[in-house]
């Protein structure tokens, strides 16, 4: 095991996959000379040269689509969006082209392209720069959605995503880049897509989450522990494919669940998980499943409003207490 930041873990994953497969290239705004807006691609230009680490113009629709075409022709593009807020400009190519190509062509064109970048809110970046975008991508059949919350998951899942033959929206977190953790020192360390992980065991209530909210869930679990409640924290790690077995298992164990997500509630990831639980584990439930999400408003700038808008550990604790009827 080596201790490294989430940023360094992503960097290693890119480096190793680019070494392993000459068809892998990285393209996006500021990825080469500037080392990436968040320095994820630091050093890659020097190591792999301008052919494989490419600064694009600010043309998300264009270079997003270029990634799709390159994948059709046999390359394995990694397309970096400076953040997923800007990927809205490219979502036509992701949904209308990438997610459907394999199907429309009756299997002739697999789509091994990764679209990656941070999703969700950082600090006071206001309405257009603070959106959790998972749902938009997870909604479309044909597009995988990966949301690592730890350095190890970031590395293992990015390597798996690059090797995957489907388009992957690989969603990082701006506030996670400096987060440190242990990462296995194996250059073939790959975490299969679609496998959730119990990040904390507990018997009383399940907090199910994905992406950087994992850390809020763990905080909440610690607070609950002080109160004698043992919460289990299940990190989906990939939103789609969704690890249904892991969800049902934790619900059957604790009989109570709370879904925590960073984005909006309406038709959110939690809505899908709650549906699944009531469809397939209704008899195991001792309480309705609750959700903790961002307030149902665009993200405000003012510090006090932003804090109110974001989900936090106290809200998760409250929701857990509710499903525990405490």
């Amino acid at each position: 095991m080596a201790s490294m930041t989430y940023r360094a873990a992503l960097n290693e994953a890119l480096r190793e996959e680019m070494e392993r497969d000459p068809d892998v290239f990285l393209m996006g705004e500021e990825v080469a000379e500037y080392d990436g807006a968040y320095k994820v691609s630091k050093g890659l230009l020097d190591e792999f040269g301008e052919r494989r680490v490419v600064d694009s113009p600010i043309s998300e629709l264009g270079f997003g689509g270029l990634g799709v075409g390159a994948a059709m022709a046999g390359l394995r593009p990694v397309i970096e969006f400076m953040t997923f807020n800007f990927a809205f400009l490219a979502i036509d190519q992701v949904i209308n082209a990438a997610a459907k190509m394999y199907y429309m062509s009756n299997g002739q064109f697999p789509m091994p392209v990764v679209f990656r970048g941070p999703t969700g809110a950082a600090l006071q970046l206001s309405a257009q720069h603070s959106q959790a975008c998972e749902t938009y991508y997870a909604h479309a059949p044909g597009c995988k959605v990966v949301t690592p919350a730890t350095p190890a998951d970031a590395k293992g899942l990015l390597k798996a995503s690059i090797r995957d033959d489907d388009p992957v929206a690989f969603m990082e977190g701006e506030l996670l880049y400096n987060f440190k953790g242990e990462v296995p020192e194996d250059d073939d360390f790959v975490i299969p897509l679609g496998k959730a992980e119990v990040k904390r065991e507990g018997a009383d209530v399940s907090i199910i989450t994905h992406g950087k909210m994992l850390h809020v869930a763990l905080q909440a679990a610690n607070k609950l522990e002080e109160d004698g409640v043992e919460a289990e924290v299940l990190d989906l790690r990939t939103v789609r494919p969704l690890d249904v077995d892991a969800i049902l298992e934790t619900v059957k164990k604790t009989n109570r669940a709370v879904y925590l997500e960073e984005g909006w509630s309406f038709l959110g990831v939690g809505a899908q998980v709650v549906t699944l639980i009531q469809e397939e584990a209704f008899d195991w439930l001792d309480a309705p499943v609750l959700r903790v999400t961002q307030a149902d408003v665009p993200m405000p700038y003012a510090k006090n409003l932003e804090q109110l808008a974001k989900p936090n550990a106290d809200r998760v604790v409250d929701a857990c207490n509710k499903v525990l009827y405490r």
């Binding site: 600010i58 700038y301 409003l305």
Partner: protein
């Protein structure tokens, strides 16, 4: 303007060794604006010295205001992204001051001084940066999203290129109602690589929308030189749509003002659109969290630009050389600017944060009686 097809690394070298006497991003093209050296600039541009002094006072205010914002950011009073306009003040004054109050301005996230130029109160702009209740957008928008309908400042917009079609929409209204207002749409040089730019220019041309598209060409996106992401110059990128295109020395506020005075009059009379490459230079980092120089531009280049291409110094020297301004008057003018900026900061500091209930206001135009609009399961103020 000379074109370059040089490789990126050669560009960097050129910039390093050039030590040019004008904005080196331009010097690499071997270009110097002749109008910098005209004998009597006030006469040449048809701007009386009195008005020029007004432009100097405006730009000084913008500079001091941004410096105040910079200070406030450093001590955590302003958060998030904050993009300063320092170095580009002549674009705000020169492009906006020729407008009438009923004309429109829409811009990107580097929006503080354009807001000031269009008449948004300095207090309201600063309070917005502070995220306070009395901010132009009630503290909800922040630095990138200043809005003030009362002076037709149609916003700071955060998605590169996102404001360009909006400008066409505003122009469409003018055309639709057969009015004579003019719309000025600012964007950065990097925005010309967005599809929205090209789609909008074409639509504006076919419908003759009264919009002046202004590229504040500071030669860089965040950390990427324009030359690395465009085969053609900014000026040439507007061509191909049947729109009159021009370039202007955006560090020379007299040149910029005079050019826009004529453009605005032309658009008002004959309709639009127009496309202008306003050549300028950013003296600070892209945003408060970005370095001033680095791999993408050298320290020497920035130093040279600040020494030789400061729009404020350029006009100050012209006025002083013509005995239209003395040291005392300059100092007084600067003291006023500092005073206004400080007062704005004090005002912002004293303005309370938004009411917590504001979280749920202005999401929807009105609350629907029949269906439910909010789905977060949280308590909300009465009536929402």
């Amino acid at each position: 303007m000379a074109q370059t097809t040089a490789e990126p690394d050669q560009n960097a070298e050129q910039a390093e060794e050039a030590a040019p006497d004008i904005n080196s991003a331009r010097a690499a093209d071997g270009h110097r604006w002749e109008t910098r050296d005209v004998e009597d600039p006030f006469d040449h541009f048809g701007i009386p010295a009195e008005d020029a002094r007004g432009l100097l006072a405006d730009m000084l205010l913008y500079r001091r205001f941004e410096e105040k914002a910079e200070e406030a950011y450093a001590i955590g009073k302003i958060g998030g992204f904050c993009h300063l306009h320092i170095g580009q003040e002549a674009a705000a004054a020169g492009c906006i001051k020729p407008l009438r109050s009923e004309d429109y301005v829409v811009t990107a996230y580097r929006d503080h001084t354009q807001a000031l130029a269009k008449g948004v109160e300095p207090e309201a702009v600063m309070a917005e940066l502070y995220g306070r209740r009395d901010g132009a957008s009630g503290g909800k928008g922040g630095s990138m999203h200043i809005f003030d309908k009362s002076v037709r400042f149609m916003g700071g917009h955060g998605i590169v290129g996102g404001q360009i079609p909006l400008a066409a929409g505003i122009g469409w209204k003018v055309h639709y109602r057969e009015e004579d207002e003019v719309v000025v749409c600012f964007m950065g040089d990097a925005a010309v690589n967005q599809g929205a730019f090209h789609e909008t220019l074409n639509m504006s041309a076919i419908w003759q929308l009264p919009v002046i598209y202004v590229v504040e060409n500071n030669a860089y996106g965040m950390g990427t030189a324009f030359k690395r992401v465009s085969k053609l110059s900014v000026a040439d990128r507007g061509k191909g749509y049947g729109i009159p295109c021009s370039s202007v020395d955006g560090q020379d506020v007299l040149a910029t003002y005079a050019h826009f005075r004529d453009l605005v009059a032309g658009v008002r009379e004959q309709g639009g659109p127009r496309y202008v490459d306003v050549q300028t230079y950013r003296f600070r980092g892209h945003s408060m969290s970005d370095p001033v120089s680095g791999t993408y531009r050298s320290k020497a280049e920035v130093k040279s630009a600040t020494e030789h291409d400061d729009p404020i110094a350029l006009l100050r020297d012209r006025l002083m050389d013509a005995d239209e301004l003395d040291q005392e008057a300059l100092e007084e003018m600067d003291a006023d600017a500092r005073e206004t900026a400080s007062a704005a900061a004090d005002f912002a500091d004293e303005s309370p944060p938004p009411d917590p209930e504001a979280l749920y206001t202005h999401v929807w135009a009105e609350v629907n009686e029949h269906g439910r609009l909010f789905f977060d399961g949280r308590d909300r103020p009465e009536g929402l």
